[in-house]
Amino acid sequence: MNRQGRPTAPAAASGEAASGTWTGNRALDLQESLLFEQGGWERTGVDLPEAELADDRLGGLARTAPIGLPGLSEPEAVRHYTRLSCKNYAIDMGLFPLGSCTMKHNPRLNEKVAAMPGFADIHPLQPVSTVQGALEVMDQLSRWLSVLTGMPGVALSPKAGAHGELCGLMVIRAALEARGDARKRVLVPESAHGTNPATAALCAYDVDPIPATPDGRVDVAAMREKLGPDVAAIMLTNPNTCGLFERDIVEIAEAVHAAGAFFYCDGANFNAIVGRVRPGDLGVDAMHINLHKTFSTPHGGGGPGAGPVVFSEALAPFIPPANVVRHGGGFALREDVPHAQVGRMTAFHGQMGMFVRALTYMLSHGGDGLRQVAEDAVLNANYVRESLKDVMTPSYPGPCMHEVLFDDRFLKDTGVSTLDFAKALIDEGFHPMTMYFPLVVHGAMLVEPTETESRASLDEFIGAMRALAVAAKNGETERFAAAPRFAPIGRLDETRAARQPVLTWQPPEPKQAAE
C-alpha cells in the first residue's frame, strides 16, 4: 500500500493556519477524525451475550487472526456520524440544481411507510402466500408505471438506471435473436449519458454516435443515413440532456421501426413530461424509469436507486423475472423463464424498499398531481432560464423543458472557468449545477431546479447566479480562484489522489525512536 501523502494529524498540523482557531474547528464546522483513529478493539456499541457453545462446527476454519475493526460506543458513533453528516450538502438544506439528476424533495411519508415491518421485515424467499401484500405493491406500481408511460410490459427488478438500460438492451437483443436477426450497431447521440454507450458495449454492440443539430437536437438526416439492417436500436434521451424535447421524435421512431430496429428511451428526464406525455405514444419500445428521480426515492449520497423498465407490446414477452402475475384472486411470482426471455438480473425481485416509496409518492400525487409535477418542473426551469439569459448564455433558444443548459461563452475572457463558477456557487450556499455535461457545448452548466422549489427559493438562486456572473464580467475574479472559501474543506488535489491511490486507511508509520 502506498502511504504517501497522508498527513497523520491534519487538524493539528495546519488547522490554525486554515481556520484561525487552535483546534481547527470553526464553531459548528467540526473536525472529525476517521473511525480508525478513534475506535478501540474492545469497545462496542452493541451489548451481546457471550454464546454458549461447547464445540464449534466450523470445520477447523475458525478465524483467529485479528481483523482490524475498531468499535465505538453508541454515543461516540452517534456523534461521529452526525458530525460527518454536517459536512454534506443535501436537498433538505437547499436548492440542488443538478441537471439530469432531478434532486426533488423526498417526502418523509415515503420513509415512514418503507420502514413498516410489513414491508421492511419480510424475506424475499418467504412462501408467496405470506407476502401477498408485497406482491400487490409490485402489481400496483407496475400498473401506475404502465398507465403513465402507455407501455404494457414492466420489468421491476433492475436495481438502478444503468441496470435498467442493460435490461432494456438485453430484451431488445433477445427479441431480435428470437426472430433470427443478429444486428451489430446501436445508435447513440453525442449528448447521451455515459451509461448509454457503456451499456450498449456491455451487450456487445458497436456504438455509433449521431451528431446533433445546431439547435441541440438529434440530426434526423444523419440518423437516417446511419440506419440500416445491422442497427439493433437507437438510444435516445427525451427530453434530451440539453433540456429540450426532441420535436422530431415521432418521425425518428417511425424511421427506426421501418429499419427493423427498436427505440430505447433513456427515462432519466421523465420528470419533465410525466402525466402530460406518454412515451408509448411517441413510439418508444423500452424505457427505464429512475424511481430516485421522477418518483422521489432518496438519492442517499449515491444510491440505492431503482430502475424499472417499461416495454412495448413487441418486447414485453422477453422481459426478465421475477414477474408478479394474478393468480386465483391473489398474486403469484413467476421466477422460471424460457430461454428466449432475458434471464434473472438480480438475486431477488428488485428494490422493494424503493417500490414502496415510489408507490406512496404516486398515491400522494395522484394522476392530477403528477401532471402538475411536470408542469411546475418545466415552469421553474423556464423561469430560471428567462431570469438569467441576459447575464449568462443559454446554449439553445427556449422554451426548455425541466432543465436549462448554459455554456461558458459568458465567461469568455474573464479568466473564470465553469469549474470556478461552480465552486463559487458553493460559497454562496448552493450545490453546483451539473458541469461539463453534456459534451456537446463548451463548459456546460446544466441547471434543473425541479418542481419542489418555491418561487422565493428560485429567486434566491437566481440572485446568486446573477451576482456571480456580473462579478466575473467585472473582473472580480479573486473569489472564483479561491473558491470554495467557506466549505468544510478547500479544493482537493484530485491528481494526487489518482496518481498514488490511497483507498483504505493504513496505520501511521511507527515514529523513529529518539536516538
Binding site: 501523502g5 452493541v46 413498516m116 412462501p127 438485453m170 456487445a204 456504438v207 406525455v277 418542481e451 483507498l503
Partner: protein, 447 residues
C-alpha cells in the same frame, strides 16, 4: 398539493416573466398527437392519512418475519440492527445528498465511504474494496467480467454450490457480452465432493465459489486457490452472509483474488430483497480493472486531509463505451448503514455476534436431528444448513407456514431434482422457543 410550493398566482406571475401565455406554450415542442389533454385514468391526489392507510393495509397482508419463528436465509438474513443505525441514515444530510461529485460539500459521504472501503477490505482479507455495488448477485457478474478482462480469457467455472440466483445473474449478463462465452455451471452438490480444480484449463478466466456455500457448508479454499493460480486463472469467492466473516477465515487468507459479497446482514433490513449492498474487494494490483466507484484520500490546498472519488477514468461517465462497467449508482445509504453497524459492533462485537449465530445454528441442527424424517446434511456450517426431509420440501414449507412457522427455503425453488431439501438459517434473533416451535411443527408435518 403538499409537495408543490407554487401557487396559481406564482404560476401566472412566472409565466408573465417568461412571456408565455400558458404552461401549454412551454410544451409546444411535443407533437400534438402525443399531448395528453386531461389527467390519466389514475386516482386523484390524497393526504398523508389516506395514503398511509392504503399502504398499511397492504403491509398488513404480509407475514412479518419478526412475528413468527423465522428461519429463512439463502442469501438474505434477518439480524438485529441497532436503533441508532436507522436514526443516523435517516438524517437528511445523508439521505437527501447526491453522489459526492463535489467533494468540498460532500466530505461526510466521502469519509464514511473511505471507512466502509477499509472495513470491507479488512473483513474480506483483501487490499482494496470499492464503494459498493447494487447487491451481491450483480457484484458477482461484475467480478466475472473483471476476471475476463484481467486474464483475457473467456471460460468461467461456477461452483454448483454458488447461490443459484447468482449463477443465473452471471449467465444473464454474459449471455450477450461474449460471442464465444463459455460458462461452465456445475450441478449442485449438497453433500459436497465437487471437483472444481479438475475443470480448469488454459482458457479458464476464473473459478467462482461461495463460502459458506449455498447449502451452508464451509470449505478451506487454499488448495483450490493454488490450482487456480497455477493455471493463470483467478479465484472469485462469494460471501452471502457477511456476519460469517467474523467467525471463518477470510477469503483473502485462503488465496482469493476477488471477493464479493452481500452486505445486507450488516445494517440493512430484509426489505423483501432490496435495496441490498454489494461488497467488492480485490488485490491492489487489480485496482484499475475494478468496477464501481472508489473513494481515495488526498489533501486540499492548505494541506488538510480530504477525500474524493478517484480513478474515475474507469467509469462510464468518462470512458463511455470503453468503461470497465456501465454501473453508475452504488448502494450508498446501505453502505452507510453497514459502516455504522460495523462501527458499533467493532471487532469484539462482530466476533461475539458471529459466535451467537453459530451457537444458535448448532442448537438448531441438534434439534432438527432429533426430528424423525429429518437428516442434517452438513458436516460443517456457520449459521445455515441443509436438511433432507421425508416429504416434498415445498409442501413441508407450506405446511409449516400454515402453522405460522417460516421454516426455511425449499431447494426445489431453485433446482429441479432437489425436491427433498430445505435450507435453513438461524441468527442471533432466534430464541430457543423459536427452535422448539420449528422442531415441533416439523414433527407434526412429517408425521
Amino acid at each position: 398539493m403538499r409537495y408543490l410550493p407554487l401557487s396559481d398566482d406564482d404560476r401566472r406571475a412566472m409565466l408573465g416573466v417568461i412571456g408565455a401565455g400558458s404552461v401549454d406554450a412551454l410544451f409546444r415542442d411535443v407533437p400534438p398527437s402525443a399531448r395528453l389533454d386531461a389527467p390519466l385514468d389514475l386516482p386523484r391526489h390524497q393526504g398523508e392519512l389516506a395514503v398511509e392507510r392504503h399502504m398499511a393495509a397492504l403491509a398488513a397482508k404480509n407475514v412479518v418475519a419478526g412475528s413468527v419463528p423465522f428461519f429463512v436465509g439463502a442469501g438474505a438474513y434477518r439480524h438485529h440492527v441497532p436503533a441508532s443505525v436507522q436514526h443516523l441514515i435517516q438524517r437528511g444530510e445523508f439521505l437527501t445528498a447526491y453522489t459526492p461529485y463535489q467533494p468540498e460539500i460532500s466530505q461526510g459521504t466521502l469519509q464514511y465511504l473511505f471507512e466502509f472501503q477499509t472495513q470491507v477490505a479488512r473483513l474480506t482479507g483483501m487490499d482494496v474494496a470499492n464503494a459498493s455495488m447494487y447487491d451481491g448477485s450483480t457484484a458477482c457478474a461484475e467480478a466475472v467480467l473483471m476476471a475476463q478482462r484481467i486474464t483475457k480469457r473467456r471460460k468461467v467455472i461456477l461452483s454448483g454450490n454458488l447461490h443459484p440466483h447468482y449463477a443465473d445473474v452471471v449467465e444473464t449478463v454474459t449471455r450477450f457480452t461474449r460471442e464465444d462465452e463459455r460458462i461452465s455451471r456445475l450441478k449442485p452438490a449438497p453433500e459436497g465432493g465437487e471437483d472444481l480444480a479438475g475443470r480448469i484449463d488454459a482458457d479458464t478466466s476464473c473459478v467462482v465459489v461461495q463460502n459458506p456455500d449455498f447449502f451452508g457448508r464451509i470449505s478451506d479454499l487454499s488448495a483450490l486457490a493454488e490450482k487456480v493460480h497455477e493455471a493463470g486463472a483467478l479465484l472469485v469467492v462469494v460471501v452471502t452472509e457477511a456476519v460469517s466473516l467474523g467467525a471463518i477465515r477470510s477469503p483473502g487468507e485462503m488465496g482469493a483474488d476477488i471477493v464479493l459479497g452481500e452486505g445486507q446482514s450488516i445494517g440493512s433490513a430484509l426489505n423483501f430483497g432490496g435495496p441490498y449492498l454489494g461488497l467488492f474487494a480485490t488485490r491492489q494490483k487489480y485496482v484499475r480493472q475494478m468496477p464501481g466507484r472508489l473513494c481515495g484520500e488526498t489533501i486540499d490546498a492548505e494541506g488538510r486531509r480530504g477525500f474524493v472519488l478517484t480513478l474515475s477514468t474507469r467509469e462510464q461517465h468518462i470512458r463511455r463505451e470503453k468503461a470497465t462497467s456501465n454501473i453508475c449508482t452504488n448502494s450508498g445509504l446501505c453502505a452507510l448503514a453497514f459502516t455504522i453497524h460495523m462501527s458499533l459492533l467493532g471487532e469484539a462485537g462482530l466476533r461475539r455476534l458471529a459466535r451467537l449465530n453459530h451457537a444458535n445454528a448448532v442448537r438448531l441442527a441438534g434439534a432438527l436431528e432429533k426430528v424423525p424424517g429429518v437428516q442434517v446434511l452438513n458436516d460443517s456450517f456457520f449459521n445455515e444448513l441443509t436438511i433432507r426431509v421425508s416429504k416434498p420440501a415445498a409442501e413441508v414449507i407450506e405446511a409449516l407456514a400454515a402453522r405460522r412457522v417460516l421454516g426455511g427455503v425449499p431447494v426445489s425453488r431453485f433446482h429441479q431434482g432437489c425436491d427433498d431439501l430445505i435450507v435453513l438459517a438461524a441468527t442471533e434473533t432466534n430464541t430457543d422457543d423459536d427452535i422448539d416451535a420449528l422442531a415441533g411443527a416439523l414433527r407434526e408435518v412429517l408425521a
